[in-house]
């Protein structure tokens, strides 16, 4: 497999797959932020909730959508799954969190 597997990748398919993954994460993380606001989570527990839901969703994605064969659908597994979108998702989370926190308090 080694050399054959390293061959050309279809960039347009990688982009499409990533887009579907990011849309999924966006939805989940925003709702997660709202729930954290409803629960009035503060400081560390809020961040922990973010990390937990983020990791759980990417695990579920790997398990159910990719059927544990990430390299078939994404370019470099860990980087694409976790690190590429973490800042974007975190900012979205903080926005939803503070918004619903202020609304309820």
């Amino acid at each position: 497999m080694n050399n054959f597997e390293k061959q050309v990748k279809s960039q347009s398919n990688i982009i499409e797959n990533k887009k579907r993954y990011v849309t999924l994460l966006d939805k989940i993380i925003l709702i997660n932020g709202i729930v954290s606001g409803i629960l009035q989570l503060e400081s560390m527990s809020g961040f922990l909730s973010f990390i937990a839901v983020y990791l759980i969703s990417s695990f579920l994605f790997v398990a159910f959508i990719c059927k544990f064969r990430v390299s078939k659908y994404l370019e470099n597994s860990i980087g694409d799954l976790i690190f590429e979108h973490i800042v974007r998702e975190f900012l979205g989370y903080v926005m939803a969190w503070t918004f619903s926190y202020a609304l309820i308090n």
Partner: protein, 133 residues
């Protein structure tokens, strides 16, 4: 989006909305009677957890398997939906092109078919002839 996913989506929104409203009421009340560090009642907590979990489930259920229609009409089963049973598109180039081969596509058709150099007059005459038969 499948029906199941739509149902779970709306149920989860309902739960989260209800939990949010309850939480809001509770905090208003707590402010009125001056409780300094109010602890949210357990049922509201569970309701919002449940709402979040249902939402995650619905988001995953919304993933449907990718389907394609064959591009050409030359067999009787043109309206048959083709699928590889996958949720995402495969990235290795040799596998990615399998979809094109399956539906009869050629991604570089613009070049390979040399579309700029089609003799339109000849083509029109030929079509007229074969359609009038």
């Amino acid at each position: 989006m499948s029906l199941l996913s739509t149902v779970t989506f709306y149920v989860s929104l309902l739960l989260i909305g209800h939990a949010g409203f309850s939480s809001f009421e509770f905090h208003q009340l707590a402010k009125k009677i001056n409780i300094s560090d109010p602890q949210l009642p357990r049922d509201i907590k569970y309701e919002s957890y449940l709402g979040l979990i249902l939402f995650i489930i619905s988001a995953f259920l919304a993933f449907t398997k990718l389907t394609y229609l064959p591009l050409r009409y030359d067999n009787q089963s043109t309206k048959q939906v083709l699928s590889q049973g996958q949720y995402l598109k495969e990235t290795p180039f040799n596998k990615a092109t399998n979809v094109d081969n399956m539906i009869g596509n050629d991604a570089n058709g613009e070049v390979n078919f040399m579309t700029s150099f089609i003799d339109i007059s000849a083509k029109r005459a030929q079509f007229k002839k074969s359609l009038s038969n």
